[in-house]
């Protein structure tokens, strides 16, 4: 990182949730380490994809970025300003720059409000313009997301899933944010409608120079939309690379198994490739395994004769010459291996 300050800088972020027991005598009996020491930087105008399975902490990370969760430790800085220590009168302005789009826009829209009121709400809260100016802005926002202006008077239940997601986007764009966290924003949509929203997200990014943190479990969608992709497992970042590197030459054994498990819409690839099927379920994030968190399910460790190091020593994220950042003691063993080629569907 030279002189340029990244748009968003997440440094050693931890978000832990207490597990409590008892109603009268409430006491903390443990911690879910939802996000446990994640560092990530986003540059202006780029899209960083965040993938991982349930319990990986990807949603928690996204919510912490927009201020819905307080970090337990570590920091999140926007254009160099630490959001944790910012003066409260400045906070509102900075928070307006960070917006979120959710999976189910229906749940985030007030069912009794016409959608024009929902889209205009952030403007009202932040005291932008007068009534007339706000109404004009709502009209512009509807244009921008490809909805007819007359929709402003409709109610959420009258809209299709795709239209509701457009409303969610219009609302997120109201305050002209710099960064949008999209959490499974297209996951609930039918394939044909999903593609419309993905194209819309890409067009908006070009028009407004937006930066996206795009959280999704669909690996193909993330590949399509992202410049760089980060993979999380049990609260940790395990690999970070450009989209083409991560999907073409994955180095973390977990990434390899994710790609290998993911069915691709090409019968020829599916017929020829050998898959790695991981045993069991991801462990409980309340009691993650020691050492490398993935070691209990790791196929690579097994092939290497179960080295003790994986169980005892937590692998740090390290940069490799190829431009990957990966948290595995033995990532070099994966590079250019037949397993890696099969996982990405390249064949022998």
């Amino acid at each position: 990182m030279n002189a340029r300050v990244p748009l968003l800088s997440i440094d050693d972020l931890r978000v832990h949730f207490p597990i409590t027991k008892g109603v009268v005598l409430r006491r903390t009996v443990g911690q879910v380490q939802a996000v446990d020491g994640v560092s990530l930087e986003l540059s202006e105008g780029e899209t960083v994809g965040l993938v991982g399975e349930s319990g990986s902490g990807k949603t928690t990370l996204g919510r912490a970025v927009v201020g819905l969760y307080r970090p337990t430790s570590g920091s999140i800085a926007f254009r160099g300003t630490d959001l944790g220590t910012i003066r409260s009168e400045d906070a509102k302005g900075v928070r307006a720059q960070l917006q979120m789009v959710f999976q189910d826009p229906f749940a985030s829209l007030d069912p009794r409000w016409p959608i024009g009121a929902s889209i205009g709400e952030p403007l009202r809260i932040h005291g932008v313009g007068n009534r007339r100016e706000r109404r004009t802005r709502v009209g512009e926002l509807l244009d921008v997301v490809g909805l007819p202006r007359r929709m402003a008077g409709r109610f959420p239940h009258e809209l299709s899933g795709g239209q509701r997601q457009r409303v969610g986007l219009a609302r997120a764009l109201a305050l002209r944010p710099a960064l949008i966290v999209a959490d499974e924003a297209v996951s609930a949509l039918d394939v044909s409608v999903q593609a419309q929203i993905i194209n819309l997200l890409q067009r908006l990014q070009r028009e407004f120079g937006l930066t996206y943190l795009f959280i999704a479990h669909d690996l193909a969608v993330v590949h399509h939309i992202s410049d760089r992709v980060a993979v999380m497992y049990l609260g940790r970042l395990v690999e970070l690379a450009s989209g083409s590197d991560l999907y073409g030459k994955p180095l973390h054994p977990y990434t390899v198994s994710l790609l290998s498990a993911n069915p691709v819409p090409d019968p020829a690839v599916e017929a020829r490739r050998q898959r790695i099927v991981l045993p069991g379920d991801p462990p409980n994030p309340a009691s993650p395994p020691g050492g490398c968190r993935f070691h209990t399910r790791c196929w690579l460790r097994e092939r290497l004769g179960s080295p003790e190091r994986c169980a005892s020593e937590d692998p740090p994220l390290r940069g490799l010459a190829s431009g990957h950042t990966v948290a595995c003691h033995f990532a070099e063993e994966v590079a250019d291996s037949p397993v890696q080629r099969h996982a990405v569907g390249a064949g022998d």
Partner: protein, 324 residues
Amino acid sequence: MNAEPVLSVRELVVRFATDAGTVHAVNGVTFDVGAGDAIGLVGESGSGKTVTSLAVMRLLPKAGRIVSGEVVFRGKELTTLSEHEMRGLRGKEISMVLQDPLSSLNPVLTIGEQIAEAIRAHEDVGRRAARERAAELLGSVGIPGAGDQLERFPHQFSGGMRQRVMIATALVLHPKVLIADEPTTALDVTVQAQVLELLHELTKELGTAIVLISHDLGIMARMTRRITVMYAGFVMESAPTVELFARPRHPYTVGLLGSIPRAGADGELRPIEGAPPDLERAPVGCPFEPRCARRIAACRETMPPLVPAADASHLVACHNPVPS
């Protein structure tokens, strides 16, 4: 496709009576599945794929009715069977796995009791023997410590384990046909891979025919040999899987394939404009016509029949199919 199909659905029509009017959920669906074969029904929400499967099982909700068409299972017509006769078939000859195993398992019975119950409903075996079979079965679907697991309740299992239990239960009586409706949609991708693998292995071993219902074209590519594409209750196209991906002929299928991000296909996605139709409208003409880039005058008048496109195995229902 060579031998007599084990399950054959012909011109199936299902309607629902609702307060708002009649819903035309399934409008003449036809497909076959042979012994040991795996076919896929693919479509978006409202395409009628789930209703089709419920109609085959004769498990439609009260408001739903099979209006016409045939469902022939090993030469036997199912649409006219009595509920009693149907009970003898369900679970034993034709079985089903649903998306959410938690809602299909009884929360107050242990896993062991539920599997044993399925066995004892169809076979005259003692409690003990049924239990032993249940334990064996859990072992065969890769659940460790199967004997102890029998005593546990559904909520004590993870989503992936519950789905394994469902598959185990569905296959315990060696049915001829298994209908799997979005069996892995609720699961994480690594767990999904386990479940698909299991489904594939068990059905291959037992020679069970699979009807796999999914919106996921990747799963279809992995699991099926033939795909039937549905839209608004109609079959739009039906072809061997490899052929369908290589040479789709229906504009809707082409639109679906253009909507999914695929490796090596950079640049913009080519989505289908608009949204799926309202099923309360009586179907006149092709339901895809309003969204179709290749529509011609005839499309508004009549629904084209499902006819062979290039060769006999590739069927398409379109007045103006995409040239191959």
